[in-house]
């Protein structure tokens, strides 16, 4: 039995329908104690990271307990972000912290440009060093921090490709460059546990898996046969 966590972040209908289609038993638990029966846990969700506030200490504890026992956990979209330490979308709210790193907004690149002393900068602007024109430099400035907006559409909506990084049980039977459906504005960072990367202005984690913990940025329930395959893989992991 797969527990589908309802924390009022979007609509569970599609995920529930997809799981039913592949023959999985689904339970939407009323409270954390109902997780005891779960062979696998899915945290779905769309929308704002602030919605994860509803996953309070009791829920967090129950989920971590099951994960600690080796039960598989799958985060979808916002549910993936929640597996990390937090998100710039709601900086005061911690995530579950099973995966390290902070989620950030697509299309906003942070960086630092090193400057040589006693040099006049009339403007620094190219693809690698985004626009820092019209900046008046102080005599003692050695570097400049910038925040650049990359010219892409945000939210990232539509079908995009998965570039597989290495083998992972969650992607068993999924071909490299398969397309899946995304709809999101924030992304999870690339980590050593990233198993598939997608690009939209920048590369980001599309699929992550470490042992029994997995997450997907896209919506497998809306990604046709490829998505159903990934859900089947998860159900199989749950046994």
């Amino acid at each position: 039995m797969i527990a589908l966590i309802d924390y009022k972040a979007g609509n569970l209908t599609s995920v529930k329908k997809a799981l039913a289609t592949i023959g999985a038993d689904v339970l939407i638990p009323d409270g954390p104690e109902a997780l005891r029966e779960a062979r696998g846990i899915i945290v779905p969700g769309v929308g704002h990271f602030g919605a994860t506030r509803a996953l309070d200490a009791a829920w967090t504890e129950a989920i971590l307990e099951r994960v600690g026992e080796g039960r598989p956990l799958l985060g979808i979209c916002l549910g993936l972000h929640w597996l990390f330490e937090g998100s710039d979308e709601a900086p005061d709210l911690p995530g579950l912290g099973l995966l390290s790193g902070q989620c950030h907004r697509l299309g906003v690149r942070h960086g630092e440009v090193r400057l040589k002393p006693d040099t006049t900068y009339r403007g620094v602007s190219d693809a690698a060093q985004p626009d820092v024109r019209n900046v008046r430099l102080q005599a003692d400035v050695r570097s400049l921090r910038f925040q650049a907006n990359i010219e892409i559409k945000v939210p990232h909506v539509g079908w995009n490709t998965l570039s597989l990084q290495r083998e992972a049980a969650i992607l068993e039977g999924v071909a490299d460059q398969s397309q899946v459906y995304f709809t999101h504005s924030y992304v999870a960072p690339l980590t050593s546990e990233t198993v598939a990367v997608t690009e939209h202005g920048e590369p980001f984690t599309a699929v992550v898996q470490r042992a029994n913990i997995a997450g997907v940025q896209f919506h497998p329930e809306k990604s046709g046969e490829v998505g159903l395959k990934i859900l089947r893989n998860f159900v199989q992991l749950a046994g």
Partner: protein, 251 residues
């Protein structure tokens, strides 16, 4: 790379798919669930169910039709036509829609965009804009193209984005049903003015029109109805054509 989306629109009245020319003179084109199945098999990226007469006849989009279409589909489904309140949106989403499309109601009550975006997320809120060329600019029309809204299409799209819309569905009234091609100047004007995706609609008549709207028109997605309904063009052959012209698609 993000693919350009091909979206099929099912204009539905009384549970049947119909398609009109310039919003009038409707003729029947079949069962929505059956068409949805065919499009899915052909590789459509997304579906829109539009209850085209709902605004005029004050009816809600039929939940039964949504359920029938959503039952076996695992691709995004949007529903529009007569969604005026949060309760209307709830009915559509509970029946299986992933997104709702607001048109007349968004114009008369823009706060509805924000209310729905806060409740379901921006990804669930499409603002549909019906526009007609007016000199150098584009004028917005409400009530299925019948009433001038006294709004500029570009400005209205920008406001919709600020208020929380996740996508713009932009229909050219001049081109709708004519098969004369998408209105590329209209689409490009709106698409370059907002950061959210723009779905071009109205006028698809041949494969070349889709190439035009994705290049000159700067569209993120293109929507068509009759070109697919009467099997004049299959989704698959359209996508092969686009790929041959260097446009990223899902095949």
């Amino acid at each position: 790379m993000l693919s350009k989306r091909i979206i099929a629109c099912l204009d539905v009245r009384d549970g049947q798919v119909v398609k009109g020319v310039n919003f009038e003179g409707l003729r029947s084109a079949g069962d929505p669930a059956e068409l949805a199945r065919r499009y899915n098999a052909e590789g459509i990226d997304e579906l829109v169910i539009l209850d085209i007469t709902a605004t005029i006849e004050a009816r809600r989009a039929l939940a039964d039709t949504i359920r029938a279409v959503a039952r076996e589909l695992f691709i995004p489904l949007a529903v529009g036509g007569g969604i005026r309140t949060e309760a209307d949106a709830e009915v559509a989403i509970d029946a299986g829609a992933d997104k709702v499309s607001l048109n007349t109601a968004a114009l008369s009550q823009p706060s509805l965009i924000t209310a729905l975006a806060e409740r379901y997320g921006s990804q669930a809120v499409i603002v549909a804009i019906d526009a007609k060329a007016d000199g150098e600019r584009f004028a917005v029309y409400a009530r299925s193209g019948q009433a001038a809204a006294n709004r500029d299409a570009v400005e209205w799209a920008q406001e919709a984005e600020r208020r929380g819309a996740g996508e713009i569905l932009l229909t050219s009234i001049d081109r709708d049903g004519t098969k004369a091609g998408f209105d590329c100047p209209l689409t490009a004007a709106v698409s370059t003015a907002v950061s959210i995706p723009v779905i071009a609609s109205g006028g698809a008549g041949g494969l070349g029109h889709f190439v035009e709207v994705f290049t000159a028109g700067r569209a993120d997605a293109a929507l068509a109805a009759s070109i697919f309904h009467y099997a004049e063009t299959s989704v698959c052959s359209l996508k092969e054509h686009l790929r041959a012209h260097g446009i990223a698609v899902r095949l």
